[in-house]
């Protein structure tokens, strides 16, 4: 067994520098690497490019980095929940690349899988396709999109073991698996870290080969963005 465990979030984030590109898993506030984001805020790392489907809310998730003006560029598909984000984008303080959600996921997966580029129908004929190569296959038009290049992938899983194997829970899976192995170094934070052998190999979602560092997060707030419930009759 090749051991991937590190002591804590500080050791897990060793080597991060100003100006780097990070991938961060999560959809809304669901399945985001909370402990790593706190560490990025604490280290006051500057001028970073973040690849993440969303940008958190004003006081949680990536919103915490935005508030401190640590982000130079965001690559996201939807940023509607964050007023500060919209302000920084419209004022030109921050550079933003909006990417169709499926293209965002595939650009991560392509990076992980050694595929430099691929064709997708998403965005053909729109401003997303401007300046990009387009091509016809079977009578339909497609846009060429390139794999991401990132220095670090930061992901969050439910359970993990010392070998870096990961299991996700519910819709907290989202972008996390596709980002594993997509950056040069993948750091996984988990709610529960167990010794190798305790997870059933049949149930592993992401094998440890894609993970370089794993640690158990100190605490998880797991904030709910839109609490919607129904009444019991």
């Amino acid at each position: 067994m090749i051991k991937k465990t590190v002591a804590d979030v500080r050791e897990a984030c060793e080597g991060i520098e100003d100006g780097m590109t990070f991938m961060l898993g999560g959809f809304g506030l669901c399945g985001i690497p909370e402990n790593i984001i706190s560490e990025l805020v604490r280290r006051n790392i500057q001028n970073v490019t973040c690849i993440s489907n969303n940008a958190g809310v004003d006081d949680f998730g990536l919103g915490l980095l935005l508030k401190k003006h640590q982000i130079k560029k965001m690559i996201s598909s939807y940023v509607g929940e964050n007023a500060e984000f919209e302000r920084q984008m419209l004022s030109g303080e921050m550079d933003v690349e909006l990417v169709p959600q499926g293209t965002l996921a595939q650009r991560c997966e392509a990076a992980r899988s050694g595929i430099p580029a691929f064709y997708t129908p998403a965005g053909y004929g729109t401003e997303v396709a401007e300046g990009k190569e387009t091509r016809e296959f079977h009578g339909k038009m497609y846009v060429m999109e390139k794999a991401f290049e990132a220095d670090f992938s930061f992901v969050k899983a439910w359970k993990g073991d010392e070998a870096g194997n990961l299991i996700f829970k519910g819709t907290a899976r989202n972008f996390n698996p596709a980002m594993c192995g997509a950056g040069k170094i993948t750091v996984a934070e988990v709610e529960e870290l167990v010794p190798a052998g305790e997870l059933d190999p049949n149930q592993i979602h992401i094998p440890g080969i894609f993970i370089q560092r794993i640690f158990q997060g100190e605490k998880y707030e797991k904030r709910i963005e839109q609490l919607t419930v129904r009444k019991r009759n």
Binding site: F27, G28, L29, C30, G31, N53, S76, S77, Y78, V79, G80, E81, E86, M89, L90, V96, L98, P100, Q101, G102, T103, L104, A105, Q106, C108, E109, T120, P121, A122, G123, Y124, G125, T126, E127, V128, W158, F168, K169, G170, T171, A172, R173, N174, F175, N176, P177, A178, H205, K222, R223, I224, E225, Q226, L227, T228, V229, R230, K231, R232
Partner: protein, 218 residues
């Protein structure tokens, strides 16, 4: 009377057939789930990674690890499955999802749709909308026929940045059900008490009216 948002959803629900996998967008489309007949089998897909999406949880049973694409807490029905975003859009682009229902700011008579950006004003992002409209065979748009100023949103050409080109085939608005055929809006049904003339006035694009137009019943 123009249709309420609930009635738009109710009318769209009639298009949902037995055995369909359906992706619902945010807003009016989300309401469609409430009106689908309960004697047919339908599974709702949410692009953040669930098939078999159920209703909102009972108070106190909400799970932060279980949300829909609108970031609302939900439940999973028996037979549900979870998957990652890459697989989710594989389902969508690979045309395994039978029906996509989404909202629009503008639709043009050749089927172009704009629903993600008002330059300099509202920039929230396209989310999964561009992937959905570029891939789905069967798209229904739920929308208001006119904006707050009374101007038509069914146009000859969209004025806003496009989400997709030549992809919309059917529209259910608060005034009518329309189909896009050969670059024109074809009127199929009208809202109760709304005349063909009123619909014509509210439609900037070319409107084709053939024969008697049935009035929707609720």
């Amino acid at each position: 009377m123009a249709l309420s948002k609930e009635q738009i959803a109710q009318r769209i629900a009639k298009e949902v057939k037995d055995g369909y996998y359906v992706n619902l967008g945010i807003g009016i489309p989300t309401l469609v789930a409430n009106f689908v007949r309960d004697d047919i089998s339908v599974e709702f897909q949410s692009e953040n990674g669930i098939l078999g999406m159920g209703p909102f949880p009972f108070e106190g049973e909400e799970d932060p690890d279980l949300i829909n694409a609108g970031k609302q807490t939900i439940t999973a029905l028996p037979g549900a499955s979870f998957f990652d975003s890459a697989m989710s859009f594989g389902m969508i682009r690979g045309q395994h999802v039978d029906l996509t229902i989404l909202g629009a700011m503008e639709v043009s008579q050749n089927g172009d749709i704009a629903n993600w950006k008002i330059p300099g004003k509202m920039v929230k992002g396209m989310g999964g909308a561009m992937d959905l409209v570029a891939s789905a065979e069967n798209i229904i748009v739920a929308m208001m026929h006119t904006n707050r100023e009374g101007e038509s949103k069914l146009l000859k050409e969209c004025s806003l940045p496009l989400t997709g080109v030549k992809c919309v085939k059917k529209i259910v608005s608060n005034l009518a059900v329309l189909e896009i055929i050969d670059g024109k809006f074809h009127l199929l049904e009208r809202a109760p008490g709304v005349s063909v003339e009123e619909i014509r006035k509210a439609t900037e694009g070319d409107l084709v009216v053939k024969g008697d137009i049935i009035e929707m019943k609720f």
